[in-house]
Amino acid sequence: MKTATEIDIQTEGEMPRLHYLNVEIGVKSWLLTTDHKRIGILYLWTILVFFLIASVAAAMMRIELLTPQGDFVTNETYNKLFTIHGVLMVWFFLIPSIPTVLGNFVIPPMIGGVDTGWTFYTPYSTTYANSHVITMAGGVFVAGFSSIITGMNFMTTIHKMRAPGLTWFRLPLFIWSMYATSVILVLATPVLAITLAVMCVERIWGVGVFDPKLGGDPILFQHMFWFYSHPAVYIMILPGMGVISELITCFSRKRIFGYGFVAAASMAIAVLGFLVWGHHMFVSGQSVYAGMVFSILSFLVAIPSAIKVFNWTATLHKGSIYFTTPMLYALGFIGLFTIGGMTGLFLATLAVDVHVHDSYFVIAHFHYIMVGGMVMAFMGGLHYWWPKITGRLYPEFAGKLAAMITFLGFNLTFFPQFILGYLGMPRRYHAYPPEFQLFNVLSTAGASILGVGYLLPLIYFLWSLKFGRVAGPNPWRATGLEWQTPSPPPKHNFEKTPTVTERPYGYSPEEDVDLHLASI
């Protein structure tokens, strides 16, 4: 993307003198910040803490499952562990990860804006890790509000703050996917809030809505829960898809294949995603005909995802492919997401779902999408924008190593769970029959490798803050607007608002560029 302004001055090999990180200092300047970039950083730390707690819970579960008997923790503890793991990972890591960290940080500079549209919110802090339903609901409720506001904030920003010349079809695909995500955040989250509120009212005052003892209908709760939770799955994956589109095109040095289709696919997912919640309830006692409608719609929602995968693959054709760390994560994403998506079809097929429902097959499927997809995308995006965020490069070799370890560890952890699921191992089992042990042991072995894959980046990212090579404004020679300002950017992103005159991704595969790759 050529712009009217030159890249803001940053001397080669040196950090800019004043940038958003050092323009103000002190705890207070951070906690009361209205700079979207600082907010992004605060979110990064927050979700990192939650991710670590949730991972420890997962590790303890995997240790428990090494043996068929429940001998490492009590069943009570085990139940707490998977609740903590699930709630923290979904609401306090996956949902906020890309939107709040990368979204907050890069959306404004990507569209040439100076800030996000709304500026009054700071990160939520909340009660967690307590099995009391109301406390938990309260936490999720607060997180939900944060979601709604984040969504509205992004929509306003994208509508109102685009640089001159940046028309809708010149927007980077990450922005399109964040827009689609915001639509879901704003429309679906209130349903969750209502459900939780009704649940609390029922618990506290004994008004029967969901509880059959009080004359309520537990199936209604399931409908409301999934009406939110299924779109939430797309809240988790759409931003990841957006990141992947950015990475694939940048490191193939080629314009993305089928820009319009990829963008439209995001919107199609956002819309269709609202119509498939019933596929979680094929064996819950809903009518056979409802099951059929939800089944066919669930097949349909797979189409836009498939379109994206095919377009990313086609983008590689005649590109000039750089195997950087972000690119390895992106390629890994395509592989895992394809398997995750295909196994989703098993669950959409009514008769097969009758068997695999609530089994480890389901666990494996959504971890392929959520961890194999979303976490890979988050890691890819974090490596890609890390030089922008911190001004420094992470060590490339360690990065590639971590990406590969993660990929291997992930497959070893979750592939055996497909087999376990078809064999009939139910979810949330603290003890299990001995014939399931082999695959559980494999899975635990994989999880320990996966753990290494996650710890490594933590170490070298921290290391790079001080010792990483200075990145310069555009180490990837990328075309996005966010690369046209120093790294780290100044407080207001751009000294002069850039003007856009072209479609995005003006890469040329025939030209050989030197990326600033520090192979330490």
Partner: protein, 321 residues
């Protein structure tokens, strides 16, 4: 049961049907992986940075290609949907001649009772090659009755009846799991299905004390709990006669028609004020809390058993038959 396997034993007619779809899906997954991964790997090699490959005139758009990879998956998906739906329809609709078993889930066990009256806990004995229908409900939270070897899975919901059925094809013992999270001891809510030769099953059924069939138990309750005091020809209360009503439509005070089925009878017993039969007063007391789930199911079985009788021809149910 503990040798190495990739699939659970295939021990019911629907297990075979479901496995065929499963294998087809596995094959499709392999195919798609090949279609996606082979190009990725070959492009990655051919177009790696600095390779001599021809990169002139790269394509970035093609409506034809896009429609191709939209329409072909769409057609495959519609086919898969149809196949899955047909088999689902089959596994959701029990045949008429099925043996009847009632199942009550509670934290954390399964209580089962055969139509003949035999009761079991966490075990289900059935004859091979006969259809068996389970009518299930829960006494507390939602559970799910899962028999992997039969590819059989249905939530068991409080306040509601759900059903599932199977026709076992192989004798042996198979797991029963509760697959819906139901509290601390969810993973201990397990049991086994024992599939037997019909003669062995008949022998098993007749061991132990003589039994009272479910319908007879229902008839006894109908008397003991005072239902017959109102619902009989010579009652002093004005209450509908229940003979010949099961599966038939009855008018309500509101003018609607409802079919007398398990749900309606259950609601009549527990929430009598919810639907008032046309021409009657709401004088029936609620039996919520005084009847167990089994007893309600037995009463329903009794009302079902008199579903073909006419009230006039025979005595009131409070007389011995």
């Amino acid at each position: 049961m503990d040798k190495f396997r990739l699939f659970p034993p295939e021990a019911s007619t629907s297990a075979q049907q479901i496995d065929w779809i499963y294998f087809a899906l596995v094959a499709l997954t392999f195919l798609i992986c090949i279609i996606v991964f082979v190009p990725i790997i070959s492009f990655a090699i051919k177009y790696r940075r600095g390779s001599k490959a021809d990169r002139s005139n790269p394509r970035v758009e093609s409506v034809l290609i896009e429609s191709g990879w939209t329409i072909v998956p769409l057609l495959i998906f519609i086919g898969l949907f149809g196949w899955g739906a047909v088999v689902y329809f089959h596994v959701e609709n029990p045949p008429r001649d099925a043996l009847q078993v009632i199942v009550v889930g509670k934290q954390w066990m399964w209580r089962l009772q055969h139509a003949e009256g035999k009761q079991e806990i966490n075990e289900l004995h059935v004859p091979v090659a006969r259809a068996v229908e389970l009518t299930m409900t829960s006494q507390d939270v939602i559970h799910s009755f899962f028999v992997p070897a039969f590819r059989l899975h249905q939530d068991v919901v409080p306040g509601k009846y759900t059903r599932e059925w199977f026709r076992a094809t192989r004798t042996g013992e198979y797991h029963i799991f509760c697959s819906q999270y139901c509290g601390t001891q969810h993973s201990a809510m397990i049991g086994r299905v024992v599939v037997m030769e019909p003669v062995d099953y008949a022998r098993w059924l007749n061991t132990g004390q003589p039994m009272e069939s479910i319908a007879l138990a229902g008839e006894r309750l109908f008397r003991e709990r005072g239902c017959s005091g109102c619902h009989s020809v010579n009652s002093k209360f004005h209450a509908p006669l229940l003979e010949g009503t099961y599966r038939k439509p009855v008018p309500l005070e509101t003018g609607e028609m409802v079919t007398v089925d398990e749900r309606y009878v259950r609601d009549s017993i527990l929430l009598p004020g919810k639907e008032i039969a046309k021409g009657y007063q709401n004088i029936m007391p609620s039996f919520a809390g005084t009847l167990s789930e089994e007893e309600i199911m037995q009463l329903i079985a009794y009302i079902k058993s008199i579903g073909n009788q006419t009230p006039s021809n025979e005595s009131a149910p409070n007389e011995q038959r």
